[in-house]
Amino acid sequence: MILGIDLGTTNSLVGVWRDGAVALIPNAHGEVLTPSVVSLDRTGEIVVGAAARERLSTHPDRTAAAFKRLMGTARKIPLGERSFRAEELSSFVIRSLRDDAEAFLGHPVEEAVITVPAYFSDAQRRATRTAGELAGLKVERVLNEPTAAALAYGLADRYAHEEGRILVFDLGGGTFDVSVLELNDGVMEVRATAGDNFLGGEDFDDAIAGWFPGAAGIPAPDPLDPGPAGQLLAARLRREAEAARRRLGAAVETTLELPLPDGRTARATLTADTFAKLAEPLLERLRRPVARALSDSRIRPEDLSHVVLAGGATRMPIVRKEAARLFGRLPLQKLDPDEVVARGAAVQAGLKMRDAALDDLVLTDVAPYTLGVEVNEGGDRSGRMLPVIERNTVVPVSRTKEVRPTADFQKRVTVRVFQGEARLVKDNIPLGEFDLELTPRRQSDQAIEIRFTYDVNGILEVAAKAEADGRQERIVIRHGPDAPPEEAAEARLAKLAALKVHPRSEASNRLLLARGERLFEESLGEARDFIGDALARFEAALAAQDPDPIAAAADRLREAIRAAGGVA
């Protein structure tokens, strides 16, 4: 069995292809959405999901969210006394999803398809693959999210005997992707992909959190200040901003309340109009990738049979309105935008398993970026990018370009590999470099063939060959510039495996505890004392590991939480 995993910025999901259909797998709380949040508790155990999410506002220094945005970078994210790379944090989320899947299926799983934003770079894709491997899964395929969304829709459409061209508008928690696809005779062809790796629902929350201090007349909390008026307050404000954004989906205005460390409460009312103004610069950025994808696919907007929305952030009315305005028509939202990518991942898993129900469905995808080498074209204007594989070339693909040394009798050339759409390599992303030794010859007799081979998972191999004597060098681009030092994979795996992750059976108790802690922090007076007392009893019962007292204490804590106005 192969899992289909949507590893999201805000939430992650897992699904499988079973009995000719997609089944999304619920976590221990019975929900298909698992927050992509990881926290380290006092005992040094890892907490993942809803419980970790609660801890964002009570233990911001020990909890991390939105780390997908740091994938492929060398950044270490501190969790209390330890620190982790983004792919390590992601591996905890995947481990938790795998546990849920094994509980659901009743047998171990070892393989997965994991989705990534189509516009993810080489380094980010590799980090995602590593995250899967660190969670003990063989990553069968790294699949582009909008392609997955289209697979989910394409399948539905195929059964409805619809064919045509679709544009997938995928605004997730942290990334924005646009793909244009053509569906015909059971062949799903991605024609073009474009995107913005730093645009998503989280940015709308940031905009609200940035607006609030001014509107409420309080100084902006500094997330780098460890005091109560700093990190803790900033974390709470962000939580409140996110809640307000969700409330605005249904209401024309909403009031944000932020309890301050001095006992006062800061308040400000956010109207839909103000929010629209705050969001304007973000909405403006949606247009460019759409234009690029349409222009590259050579498909006119009026020739699209559907515009499909995917990603949780497309639930926002202002985003739906903007999408409708951009295309001059109402977009399609037959499937839940939070689930559509995971559903597509499960379909791809089914394809990988050669499931009979999917036998005549074929998918072709494209390389999202231009890949090339640095060349110097004389004079002082050095460092141009020579494209070898142009963006939106159908993959897998292998292409060659011929280059020459800049001078006669050169002893070696350095092949520098880049990805990106800028003319000069300094504005593109370096992927790696290597030297090719040459037998010195005149420039005119020294042809060098550069070959790029790009596979379906977006992994690139570069080879350079001197035509005259057949000398050859090649590299597989394993690491981006910020990738980790070549630490032995097994050592890393062992290090992470040694970390205890809360067992699935305890998940509901952990969530209850985390929620109680948050409400304890947020309430005042009698309610606070009541929760504090119930929390202490519950923790004592948990420590004693005796089932009956645990159940009783849990009931009492739930009651206290409800009394304080929380959800238990």
Binding site: R288, V290, P301, L351, K352, V395, P396, E421, V456
Partner: protein
């Protein structure tokens, strides 16, 4: 792969029915999909693309489908805002025009093309409006629509983007040397007091070299006084690079009065100079800053054809240079060469030296080059290279009142 092999890979007899080719391709995909048979898939895809290039009708240009008034009106509105100096108004007009059309629609593309062809390359276009268009139309993309529509224009456009980003980088820089480059002379003097260390001198030299690269678009935004101050900080008090050592008697009192052999002299000679050519070119273009309209092609005198221009250049009564007395000193003006430039491959000049060695580019846009003569300048020598590679005799022009 041969054409026959392409058709074989598709499992099809040659046809010009594009739909039949697509159907055959899709049918073959079921056997050699990208996952099932990556090698076979690549052969199939290559065959498909090769066959389709010959069959697919090119995408019709946006223009015929779009009301020509749409772009005409927009260009007129933008022109009116620009004439009134209203940059924000012009940007808003473009934004409003684009908001009315879906991205990728013929109208949106027609608007982009009209602006790209109409005003994007106008050198006097305000930086704010230029960069707003670059962002709005994704013009940084070297592999996108604009580059595909008109590669040459787009390349020039990217040169200006680089220049704008360079100057914006200087303005945003925390380095006082960078700030001084874009400051007024007074500020530059305050920011850069005294001499620079070797690292500082190198940084300024680099900046001057960059300035030379981007000069065409940004030079008129620099304060000549500040640049002069920066140059002094690198090279010491002004002296011309081509000045020959004079007999000992003539050297007293000047800034170069240090006796040879002293440590100070060594220090002076190890200072690498900003190349004179760079300075003259910058000086020449800076002179244009005052008269921006001179940048327009159509305001320059008519070009003579190469034969006629060559005849004039070789005529003894045709001056190659003019001197104008101005309040600040004598202006050296190369205007006589401008209408004759078809017969000039390059021009070398020398100041106070018999052998002209400094290469000077003739501006391609028809702008009139020239510079303000430094006080030490007594005469200028000039030599032309003609397009056939032959060299003219050297001509020498003495500055009025400074006969040697």
């Amino acid at each position: 792969m041969s054409e026959t092999a392409d058709w074989e890979a598709l499992g099809l007899d040659p046809t010009d029915d594009a739909e039949a080719v697509k159907r055959a391709y899709r049918a073959r995909l079921k056997v050699v999909g990208p996952d099932r048979d990556p090698e076979g898939f690549q052969r199939l895809r290559a065959a498909y693309e090769a066959v389709m290039t010959g069959l697919e009708a090119p995408r019709p240009p946006a223009a015929p489908e779009v009301d020509p008034d749409l772009t005409g009106r927009l260009l007129a509105t933008v022109a009116a805002h620009r004439a009134a100096g209203n940059e924000a108004g012009a940007i808003a007009a473009i934004d409003a025009a684009m908001a009315a059309h879906p991205p990728g629609s013929p109208a949106a593309e027609a608007i982009e093309d009209a602006l790209l062809g109409g005003i994007a390359l106008d050198r006097v276009l305000s930086p704010g409006l230029f960069m707003a268009m670059v962002d709005r139309f994704d013009w940084r993309d070297a592999n996108g629509r604009a580059a595909g529509t008109d590669a040459e224009r787009h390349a020039i456009l990217l040169d200006r983007v680089a220049a704008e980003e360079w100057i914006a980088g200087l303005r945003a820089s925390a380095d006082p040397l960078d700030q001084a480059m874009v400051a007024t002379r007074e500020e530059a003097t305050r920011l850069v007091s005294g001499d620079l260390d070797a690292a500082g001198r190198n940084r300024v030299r680099t900046r001057f070299e960059e300035l030379r690269q981007h000069a065409m678009f940004v030079l008129h935004r620099f304060d000549g006084g500040a640049l002069a101050r920066m140059r002094e900080a690198v090279e010491g008090p002004p002296l011309l690079g081509d000045i020959q050592p004079e007999p000992a008697g003539g050297r007293a009192g000047g800034p170069w009065a240090v006796p040879p052999g002293t440590p100070a002299d060594t220090a002076t000679t190890t200072r690498r100079k900003i190349p004179l050519g760079t300075l003259i070119l910058i000086g020449a273009l800076a002179g244009l800053g005052a008269g921006v309209p001179a940048l327009f092609r159509d305001s320059s005198p008519p070009l003579l054809d190469a034969t006629e221009a060559r005849r004039r250049l070789e005529a003894a009564d045709q001056p190659w240079v003019l001197f104008h007395m101005e309040p600040g000193g004598t202006r050296v003006d190369f205007a006589p060469l401008v209408p004759l430039r078809r017969a000039i491959a390059d021009l070398r000049i020398g100041v106070n030296v018999a052998e002209p060695a400094t290469l000077m580019q003739m501006p391609e846009n028809g702008a009139v080059p020239g510079f303000l003569a430094p006080a030490e300048m007594r005469f200028i020598t000039m030599r032309l290279r003609f397009p056939d590679g032959s060299l003219s005799p050297i001509r020498r022009y003495d500055l009025p009142g400074k006969k040697s």
